[in-house]
Symmetry: C3
Subunit: 377 residues, 3 copies
Amino acid sequence: MGSAEHIAEHVAALRLVDHHVHGAFTADLGRAEFETHLNEGSPEPVPEWMTQFDSQLGFAIRRWCAPVLDLPAHAPADEYWARRAELGVRAVTERLLRAAGVSDWLVDTGFGAGTVLDVDGMAGASQARGHLIVRLESVAEELPADGVAGRDYADEFGARLERAAHGAVGVKSILAYRAGFDIDLSPPAPHAVADAARRWVDGGATRLVDPVLLRHGLHAAVRLGLPIQIHTGFGDRDLDLHRANPIHLLDFLRTPGVADVPIVLLHCYPYHREAGYLAQAFGNVHFDVGLAINHVGVRSTQVVAESFELAPFAKQLYSSDAWGPPELHHLGAVLWRRAVTSVLGDWVTSGDWSAADARRVADMVGRDNARHVYRLG
Amino acid sequence: MGSAEHIAEHVAALRLVDHHVHGAFTADLGRAEFETHLNEGSPEPVPEWMTQFDSQLGFAIRRWCAPVLDLPAHAPADEYWARRAELGVRAVTERLLRAAGVSDWLVDTGFGAGTVLDVDGMAGASQARGHLIVRLESVAEELPADGVAGRDYADEFGARLERAAHGAVGVKSILAYRAGFDIDLSPPAPHAVADAARRWVDGGATRLVDPVLLRHGLHAAVRLGLPIQIHTGFGDRDLDLHRANPIHLLDFLRTPGVADVPIVLLHCYPYHREAGYLAQAFGNVHFDVGLAINHVGVRSTQVVAESFELAPFAKQLYSSDAWGPPELHHLGAVLWRRAVTSVLGDWVTSGDWSAADARRVADMVGRDNARHVYRLG
Amino acid sequence: MGSAEHIAEHVAALRLVDHHVHGAFTADLGRAEFETHLNEGSPEPVPEWMTQFDSQLGFAIRRWCAPVLDLPAHAPADEYWARRAELGVRAVTERLLRAAGVSDWLVDTGFGAGTVLDVDGMAGASQARGHLIVRLESVAEELPADGVAGRDYADEFGARLERAAHGAVGVKSILAYRAGFDIDLSPPAPHAVADAARRWVDGGATRLVDPVLLRHGLHAAVRLGLPIQIHTGFGDRDLDLHRANPIHLLDFLRTPGVADVPIVLLHCYPYHREAGYLAQAFGNVHFDVGLAINHVGVRSTQVVAESFELAPFAKQLYSSDAWGPPELHHLGAVLWRRAVTSVLGDWVTSGDWSAADARRVADMVGRDNARHVYRLG
């Protein structure tokens, strides 16, 4: 058996830490809705003259999820859909989650609560461990509903964040969706926070887009000390993709105090080379190429290869960023394993890397780095 | 015969729709002028101490066009040039166009009329079908010459656009060259259009660079309802490349009404990943990697591979964007076929895609998607 | 022997011109300091819980430099470090520099003088030729120390630049670090230079960041007529990476007079596709992917492949951009040779390029283009 085969075997057996994920759907859904959830970018129904199955993600589902549901690889979309409906949401979810080979899910519960499994639900369905990631903007959005006054906002946010983060292993920011990164990201003055909170509450707003309060939340998280996950790059079209380029976080990363907490840049595509640069340039910056891996399907091999450039290997993590269809939780793991096996295996075959190093780096990125960053013990 | 060979055969036999192209030269030209036309970026003569044949495009011409002119592959540039002169423009053009395997040319006639073949000329020389694409800025630039007053501009532009578009299958905008995308792209108010038109006419301008009139033209096209091609990315150095990044079209794409017409992003390199994102995020957005394919030569395989990431397969099209030398019309098709055969063939070989899917996707991108978008029937 | 093997042999025997490099360390250093110098982006010590050897650069050192120090390929980091210490700085430096196969080093002496070898030191240690590159900002920074008054700044800078450039083959600008490229880069008026110089001297400043004086320096270099190297892209985190994208140099490149001197864009990663575009669009623009080659290790093959897209082959150069550890001087050459051999060899194998062309292009990029640009004779 050659070195490259050894790597395939090793990576296949590696139990992954999926360090940024959401719950799988709790109920069955219709095919149109399912197809909409295969499109990260658009909130609208897939146009009638096409099918979202005709995409890298759709092809990857037919290739890799079909066999988990007892179908042949590349089963047609209609057959896949029929078999899925026949098994029902619970069986489909359990099969796909368990076959992912994930030991720990770090679950951001800040979106779609009620329609997707919570931390315990994910742990139960997958027979693995679940951990909580607290979304900063969700904590903030509780406040106006509870009638918190402007002058009390900062104290109350701090207290609630601390409570919410109790038992959590990290926090998450979706600043990318709410304001973009190309704004002033310095810590706001207390009076500015009070004013902004008053305006927000008076305006009856529920969706937090005020830059002052977003910045306040981010810096409150810095003081909290838990790892901060930041959505960057690719997401739905609500965000301005170019303004979610992680390179615009440079000034934030240079802010005093920020260097003391781990900053984890999520997704990053198509700006993962910029993310790799930041992970080299700042000792506290980590990143992944989650989400993209699923949506580019077979091309994940190239995206993973591009993520192995500037960043030290200790700074890279695995995530699926799955939300909703459990196919996404499963595929993230399958495609990452295939990519890593192929990319690292080629380097071993060409003599550029040793096989022992390749196995060690796979372990680091797939498991050990997340254990270190989030102190999973 | 393996699956990958079947794909090569299938793609070789596929008659393409070149959905964005210009005419081939009508007259012989000198070698210096020819070499200048092998350089998309620069309007100046190639420096004397070098030859533009020493480029990916030049090598691809010597590799793929030389045999069409009865020369061995990789024939030296001097021999290629001598043989080309010997055959003459008509024979060279007919050979190269016909060997491209294109069934339909969608011809933008807005640049260099008189020096290149028109729609009928292209159809005749290639023994294929030709269709008209109307350039918005060319329609606008007729108006001041005809003494149209500011207050009549909007009506007259609308009427002329409708007439010009009669019998056309789409329109095209070169906003990228005239103002870039990082400006306000909302529909201008009528009085602003009248004012801008007056200023333009009074100033005796011929080249339209006024942002108000450019925006007016774009939104007039939206109301017209035909597919709108937009030049994005790579072009000659008149444009600011980064300001022609299609991601700056986000606000335009979110404008009410725009979702009702197909928007086709042309070229896109080196921002084709951003284009793929837009094609996923917006149901009416399509894109190609034309122009770049020719200019990066053998590297077109990688560029085509990068175009198969986020975008659903129904949203991708083939074009050469050739203008002038018929080598460009020919090479676009040759290089796209080689790239698709190699990229999709590898995925079939590795088991990630089925051979049937690969053939189907090649048909979609090379022919069927364009038929659908432009209603070629 | 196949064509690809012939290319490997040819490229292995090619004596390179390293057209942008700095000196190797003159003294032994500790391991922590050494590891810090393997991280281009960060000026801080490598975090204690990781090692910078776990990076593409670290793996490349263990793979390619270990054998030069009589160790097996992939020797563990501790063994490598022990052997390095045993041999001592002089032996290590001589072995690594001489085995690089470089005939000419073009040395930018503007950073770290005293801690690294100068032009003669590099020539001596490597038994090759050395040439001087003068850093514009270093010339400027001598002036306030010598008490030059504001009104005399322009004349004195011009005189000193001319003297400094005597015997030099080019100049270099680090504008990217001092102001970024997305500012007005037109030649400043004389009175503005005098005012800015007065403010700078009065402020007691030593590090030149005034945009007016930086622009003045750049345009003084244009008048001087020597090739101008400009740091672009990837560097340490002092710079704003996105503001060092060479595409922001468009307006500078369009400035009258600039077309008359060779402009050489250095590094460029991850914006090397934009650099390739500029090298196509402007007859006087050249570029390299130095620095990145070392830091991405085995991935240099992909980065080099991406550099062979739009730019004519006469416009590309080889550099290591090594500074400090002689491993960097060595690896630049090793990794470039491997990349070129692999990339061009594959194109010969697939029949896209002829073997003769591949050898010729390797010679151009590795040696001849630099001889032409810098008139090395």
